[in-house]
Amino acid sequence: MGYWFQPNNQCDIAISSRIRLARNIKGVPFPFKMNAEQIKQINHQVRDAIANSDNSLAKKLKYIEMENIPEIERFAMVERHIISKNFALNYQNRAIIISDDESICIMLCEEDHIRIQVLESGLQLKKAYETANAIDNILCDSLDIAFDERLGFLTECTTNLGTGLRASVMLHLPLFEANGGIKKYITNITRMGFTIRGMYGEGTKPLASIYQLSNQITLGITEKEAIEKTTKVAQQFIESEKEYRNQLDTLRIEDRCMRSYGVLKNARVLTSDELMSRMGDIMIGISLGIIKNIRYPMAIFVSAQPYMLMRKYGEMSPESRDIERATMIRSLL
């Protein structure tokens, strides 16, 4: 385990994998119908279930109330993919249970009472599921989880019924995108029961050609099947992206990567958008062995996000952020 943006292996097309399990407590209204008192009760029930467990995984987790986290840090957590934007906005009375390396985070009373999330770097859905499942077992053993023999785990939205499992893979597909691939395949992907969205999930634009592929079907399918199928579809994307990369003119791609490297190394003002597109080139460069001295491009990418910058350097205007971003990137490269 570790930060998803600081992988042990080389940066590649599959950036990270995420497993999310949605669970609820029986006989309690779902969060959108709950009052503050009910929310607190659920928070404490789950906190105690984890605290009273002998499982070694549970010992690594700590309970944090969202009201104790400053606004900038809350949104920086969204940029690090730990919590959802909605959760950062509606933080009142909410709480999380989180591991030190942030690879495990349980959001309490987001859309469902319990949302277990496990992040891993690269294409490692199976490993992420094993961790999520172990935490789920702790909760299912000690809490009265809403479950129906016909419909499985009961969730607020019918799209999560059954396994309550969402398996997502973050993919860097610049050449697939440049060749019009995403739009071409989107209908097929939907028909197969998958969805592909921007980096920050639902309704977001793809930044730096980074996409999120996730399964849509949760009923009438086992967790193993869902994970295997998602992995398979992700692998197909990876293969296509690799094929496009192999077709490239070596000199031209080297030129493109090194130009972007040059800009990032020398820029004095750097907007978030420009950084995104330049980092896309850097990532291709690392993947093809053209750029060798950058180990964690996603770590650079994430740390240059607006709230992550403000978390480090204090609150500032967008203009000052662009200057600070350029300075930081120069020092990192």
Binding site: F30, N133, F147, R150, L151, I217, T218
Partner: protein
Amino acid sequence: MLCEKCGVNNATTHIRTVVKGVVCDKYLCFSCATSEGFKSKELSQIMSALLGEESNNQNSKIARCACCGSTVAEIAKSGKCGCSECYNTFYDQLLPYLKKSQFGKTRHDGKLIQKIKRIQQSKEEEIEELKYLLKKSVLEENYEKAAVIRDKIKELKEET
């Protein structure tokens, strides 16, 4: 059309009387209709009373989830259930929505929670036991007992 009685005002009230199969239509203005005993106030009162009663009836007929108070219409509109009990209360009505959102699938095939696993395991064990007794009863030619056991096995299989 002018009022049949006064011939001055516009006819706003249509009165149809049927006496021994003979239909008689009258088209009157508001004041003539009132003087003939068809008071609009009473009519409107009757109508509102009728409608009111009906809408009250409708209200009491609309099924609500005992746990969170949600109705099927609310769930269908928002795509959100109010609580886990909604699925039990409105199972039949929700099934078409589930089918739509889950690519036609309606039956869970994934993980079971331990408590349910234990119940299912004990049911399976019971079925095995009954199968053994069924075989024994047939061998003993005790067909009445065998039929009872057969039905019990069928029942348990349907539950699992």
